[in-house]
Every structure is written in structure tokens, then in C-alpha cells.
């Protein structure tokens, strides 16, 4: 295991200070490497990034958008990160939208969030005529495509490309000492909607201080350095990727942007990153690919022998891992040596597997409400199966509920610290529920801590289903869709773990038997329901699609107030 060494990263108080410091220290260093609109590889330096951010800050002020709410929707790209950093620095509230949102969800969030402007990338321009005809854009002051180009069927005077938006902006007169004296904003700076626009929807309010505290704590726990090259594959609208991007800026790292899920392997070979931040979906798929390739070449036995040899040699102080497995590592670009994994539970065996190959895998735990990082295995002391100790910006404790057979105290995980959200937007009831009287945030996750303060997650009190790609699915939302299918009388959606550790959405349904002839075979009814659910799936983003259906012959057990006892449904 790596030794603990001093971490060297910028001590910036807020995002503007961070962009300024990077411009001073490494103006010519490449911050982002990415595919431009024409598909060519392009680069943006830290100096160029600072300049663009300053221009956007000025433009926001000149157009009287200071303090207003601006949504951003799009794939990971420089414009997304620039606008995010600039808008926060200009005192705006940024609302990162999930790229997979449906038109009615975008419309709902624009209304609920009282959004004033929207920035979007070319891939989303197709949605805008539909959004306009649905009336979703009526209240917006500005509609800002992040590229210069026409949007078909959308002539609108509020439409202004990002380049035109900043074209005439006069840089603000602000001295370096003014920038360096500034403090992070403690008020609502980011709004994050946690699910669809149903009754279960909540909007998390994070401050700039939250996100900066989280990013700095991440920097302390991971062994990244200024010389690292990362490849970004997770969507930037997730707080996980967002906080990591800020952490990478604190270190002054070069980040390469993967343009498409289809191109992950190709881009790994192109960018040759030495570090990545992933969710378990990627780690388990990488693992599967390694084994598929080994099997296809008929080298399973040799590979297993090689793994044993590598571990034995390492035990006696000889590290041959990267040489022994160079052909395997080449498939991932050849330089990959560290992975941070979070967002969902990971198979603990994968950590051992990747260690054997010479890739250090550190698992962490987070939740959007904590910006999101709560704990991570530090590089100098990792424990298999644990999500690590609390990061430096927060404290964690267990709200004792029971003791397991090994005498460990199990209970809900509570968090207190600078990374904990400002609260849920416009939702007093939810805020009362999640904060204790003495200021601890109830995560809804259940676990225990060992004697070293390392956290282990064992379950969940709330209904949210966390998929291995880190996406959260709120079963109530899917059940609402199912309730609109006539042949389904009742349903409960659960996340079932498969043998390989993946979690799949399963709908347990009680049919509306009145619609079928008396005595009809249940398998025929199940087939009919399956067809209807397939139709429903066609209109849902892939992560919300129902993967499995269980048809039951009896109604669900109910409480006295006629609510389904969902905890009985597994």
C-alpha cells in the first residue's frame, strides 16, 4: 500500500479564486482535452479557462442575471464547466439538469425552480422546439445555446449563443487581492432535482462552500498529483463528477473528456489516463472485459497463475504486476494506475482483482445532500469492503438501532460538516425529517463503523434504489407510471441484486383481474403485462426502465391507512 505523503493542491476558498490561482500558476498547462463540435481533438489551458470564465462573469452582470437561476443541460464539455464556474462566481444559482430528462420533466423543473435562463449544448437543441410548444420556455429571459448555430423551428429573440452572450462583455475591474480575499458563498448556489416531477421529487440546495469543502476533502484523501491525467466518463451534472472536477482543478490536473459511452475503450487508448473516477458499473464492466478477453484467447489458466505469481512476488517486496499484465493494461491505455469508485455499492472482490493488476482502487461513499462525498478509503490505508473513514470536512456517527451477531452497532449513518447541504428547496417537511435537533443530517443509509472509524454500508432505510451506474431511482415515480397501465391494479418497484452484484429494477405487480376472463392462466396475464411494460420502457430513460416483472395473485398487504406495506416486498 502507498505511503502517506503531503498532498499539494491549491488552497482556494472559492471557485473564482481557484480559476485565478490556476491562471497564475499554470496558465499554459492543458486543463481540458476534448472533442470539439467538428469532432477534432482540442485543448483548453488553465489560462484560457480563466479568461472565458471572467468574460462570462462580466456578461452575466451586464445582462442583469446576477443572483438569478440558470439551468445547464448538456454533455461534459468546456462550455458546461466554464458556465458553471462563472455563474457560481457571479452570484447565480446553477441548476444542472440530467441529460436524460424528458420534456415534461424539464418543463416541471423550470416551473418549480423558477428558472430565469437555460444554457444547452448542441445535442439538446432538438428538444427545444418541443419545449417551446409545451410552453416550458415562456418565463425564461435567456435561452443560450453553447455553440453558434441556428436551432431549427425556434426563432426567438431571447435566443443568444454563448459566444454572442459574452462577445461585448467588458472585463470587470477587480484586483487580485479582491479575488483572494473573497469567501465562498454559503447561500444556495446549486439546485439539484433528485427525481422526476412527481410527489416524491426533492430539490437539494448546495452552497459554493459545500462543494469547495467536499472537493478539498477529496484532495486530501486521494493520491492525485499535478502530473496526473484523468479521463472523465461520468455525467458532469452529477455532484460526484462535479466535485471531482473541482478537485482536479485544485490539483491542476489535465482532464480528458470522453465524448460518448460508445468510445470509452477507444478514448482510453487515445488519452492514456493514469487515473479515473468511476462508478461500479465501469469497474465491473472493465473486469468482465478482462476475463472475456482472457477466455477468448484461451489463456484463463495462465492468467490465474500470473495473478498468483504477482501477488506472491509482491508479498516478498517485488512488484512485477504492471509488467506481467502489460497486455491487459494496454487495453485501458497502458497508464491506468488509480481508480476512485463511488456512487453505488461495489463488489469488494474487485478491489483485490485490480490490485493484482497494479491498479489501486479506492472505494468511497457519498450522497447528493453531502456534496456528495462522505467517506473514502485513503490511498495509504485501504480496507476491502469498507467505504473508508469520514473525509476531513465532516463527522460521521451511527444512530444506534441494533447490534449484530458480532457485537457491531448498526444504525442510520448521520453526517455533520461543511459538505452538508443548505437544505431541500421549499420543503419544510422534508427538512424537518432529515435534520436532527442538534444539526446532524440523516442519510437514510444504514451501516456500522469499525474501531478505526472505517464505515461499512449494510442497507438503506429509505426507498431510493441506487443502481451500479450511480443513478438513483425513486420507486414511487416508477409506480406512478405503472398505475397508469390499466391492467395493473397495484405495484411496488424494488431493486433486486443479481448474482453479479448488479441491481436491477423489478416491478412486483398485482393485475387488474377484472379485465381478464375468470380463470385465465396467470402466465397469459403476465405476458400481457410484460408487453405493456415494454411499451412504458420505450418512453423512459434507460436507467428508469423496468428490467424484471413479478406478477402476484394476491393484493399487497396494507396498513390501516390503506398504504402498501412496501417493506414486506423484497
Amino acid at each position: 500500500m502507498a505511503k502517506k505523503t503531503p498532498r499539494v493542491f491549491a488552497n482556494a476558498a472559492n471557485i473564482r479564486q481557484l480559476t485565478y490561482i490556476n491562471n497564475q500558476r499554470r496558465p499554459d498547462k492543458v486543463f481540458l482535452r476534448y472533442f470539439g463540435h467538428d469532432g477534432n481533438l482540442e485543448e483548453l489551458t488553465y489560462g484560457g479557462f480563466f479568461e472565458r470564465c471572467e468574460k462570462i462573469i462580466s456578461a452575466i452582470r451586464e445582462k442583469n442575471l446576477t443572483g438569478k437561476r440558470i439551468a445547464i443541460i448538456g454533455e461534459n464539455c468546456p462550455e458546461w464547466i466554464e458556465f458553471f464556474c462563472a455563474a457560481i462566481s457571479a452570484g447565480c444559482v446553477v441548476i444542472p439538469f440530467d441529460r436524460e430528462l424528458l420534456v415534461n420533466e424539464i418543463k416541471g423543473f423550470i416551473e418549480i425552480g423558477k428558472i430565469d435562463a437555460i444554457v444547452f449544448s448542441p445535442r439538446y437543441s432538438k428538444k427545444f422546439p418541443e419545449l417551446k410548444s409545451a410552453g416550458a420556455l415562456d418565463e425564461l429571459e435567456y435561452i443560450i445555446p453553447s455553440y453558434t448555430g441556428e436551432i431549427e423551428d425556434l426563432s426567438d429573440e431571447r435566443l443568444i449563443s454563448l459566444d454572442d452572450f459574452i462577445k461585448d462583455a467588458v472585463p470587470e475591474k477587480i484586483t487580485p487581492s479582491e479575488i483572494m480575499r473573497a469567501r465562498p458563498r454559503g447561500d444556495m448556489s446549486i439546485m439539484l432535482f433528485t427525481s422526476g416531477t412527481t410527489g416524491s421529487s426533492k430539490c437539494v440546495m448546495l452552497s459554493e462552500r459545500n462543494i469547495m469543502a467536499c472537493a478539498k476533502a477529496a484532495c486530501e484523501a486521494v493520491n492525485f498529483s499535478e502530473n496526473d491525467v484523468t479521463m472523465s466518463v461520468l455525467p458532469i451534472h452529477h455532484t460526484y463528477e462535479l466535485a471531482i472536477t473541482i478537485a482536479e482543478m485544485l490539483y491542476g490536473i489535465t482532464s480528458c473528456i470522453n465524448d460518448n459511452l460508445k468510445h470509452v475503450l477507444k478514448n482510453l487508448k487515445l488519452f492514456k489516463p493514469n487515473s479515473m473516477v468511476l462508478v461500479p458499473l465501469f469497474v465491473s464492466t472493465f473486469n468482465k472485459k478482462i476475463w472475456d478477453e482472457v477466455k477468448k484467447k484461451g489463456k484463463e489458466r495462465q492468467f490465474k497463475l500470473g495473478m498468483t505469481a504477482a501477488n506472491t512476488l509482491k508479498f516478498v517486496g517485488i512488484d512485477m504486476r504492471r509488467r506481467l499484465f502489460s497486455d491487459v493494461l494496454d487495453a485501458f491505455g497502458g497508464n491506468l494506475e488509480k481508480i476512485i469508485c463511488g456512487g453505488a455499492a461495489m463488489d469488494p472482490e474487485l478491489m483485490g482483482m485490480f490490485d493484482t493488476l497494479g491498479i489501486e482502487l479506492c472505494e468511497g461513499y457519498g450522497i447528493t445532500e453531502c456534496s456528495p462525498l462522505v467517506s473514502v478509503n485513503p490511498y495509504y490505508r485501504r480496507k476491502y469492503g469498507s467505504v473508508g473513514p469520514a473525509v476531513s470536512c465532516c463527522e460521521v456517527k451511527i444512530d444506534a438501532e441494533s447490534t449484530d451477531e458480532e457485537g457491531r452497532i448498526i444504525g442510520e449513518i448521520l453526517v455533520k460538516g461543511e459538505n452538508v447541504m443548505v437544505g431541500y428547496f421549499d420543503n419544510l417537511e422534508a427538512n424537518m425529517e432529515v435534520f436532527t435537533d442538534d444539526g446532524w443530517f440523516r442519510t437514510g443509509d444504514v451501516g456500522y463503523m469499525d474501531a478505526d472509524g472505517y464505515l461499512y454500508i449494510t442497507g438503506r432505510k429509505k426507498t431510493v434504489i441506487v443502481l451500479n451506474n450511480g443513478k438513483n431511482v425513486f420507486p414511487e415515480e416508477i409506480e406512478e407510471y405503472l398505475s397508469k397501465i390499466e391492467c395493473i391494479a397495484e405495484s411496488v418497484v424494488v431493486g433486486r441484486e443479481k448474482e453479479n452484484g448488479d441491481v436491477e429494477l423489478t416491478a412486483v405487480v398485482y393485475p387488474n383481474f377484472d379485465l381478464y376472463p375468470v380463470g385465465m392462466d396467470i402466465s397469459v396475464i403476465a405476458e400481457d403485462i410484460k408487453k405493456k411494460v415494454t411499451e412504458l420502457n420505450r418512453n423512459l430513460p434507460s436507467f428508469k426502465q423496468i428490467r424484471n416483472i413479478d406478477v402476484r395473485k394476491t393484493e399487497f398487504e396494507k396498513t390501516t391507512s390503506k398504504k402498501i406495506k412496501r417493506f414486506l416486498v423484497k
Binding site: K126, K262, D292, D502, T534, N537, P541, Q545, R547
Partner: protein, 78 residues
């Protein structure tokens, strides 16, 4: 085209041939995750020299949907 896709799924992605029907859903019945679906898309793009639209790929649910879409693309190409 269905048989070609079926062979691809069996040979390259180790899917059990008996599970592959036109109605089989990639996620629900064949156990695909989003990255594996992306892999299949890339394989077909390379094999048939076509470009599969990302938005469209999201709406492909069943093997039949995929076959139909491939046929459309190949038809346009000719």
C-alpha cells in the same frame, strides 16, 4: 438480419442463443448494461460501416427494435 445480430450476440457477447428472440429486451432478458449496449452498437457500426445515432440507441429496447433500426440504416445506405 435477425440471424446476423443473433450470431453477433452469441459469438462476441457470449449470450445464450436460446434467449435471443425478436421480443427479448436487451436489459430485461439479456442482462445488458448501458456499456455493453454501447459495445454492441460500436461492433455493428464497424461491421456495417454505419453510424448509429446516440439518441436513437437510447430508444432501442428489444432485439427486434435493433434489427429493424439496422435494416433502416442499411436501406438508407443503399
Amino acid at each position: 438480419m435477425f440471424e446476423e445480430v443473433k450470431n453477433l450476440l452469441v459469438e462476441e457477447m457470449s449470450i445464450n442463443a436460446d434467449d435471443i428472440t425478436e421480443e427479448a429486451e436487451f436489459g430485461k432478458d439479456l442482462g445488458f448494461n448501458s456499456l455493453e449496449l454501447a459495445d454492441l452498437v460500436v461492433m455493428c457500426e464497424d461491421r456495417y460501416a454505419i453510424d448509429i445515432d446516440e439518441e436513437k440507441a437510447h430508444t432501442i429496447i428489444t432485439v427486434g427494435d435493433f434489427v429493424k433500426y439496422l435494416e433502416e440504416l442499411l436501406g438508407e445506405k443503399q
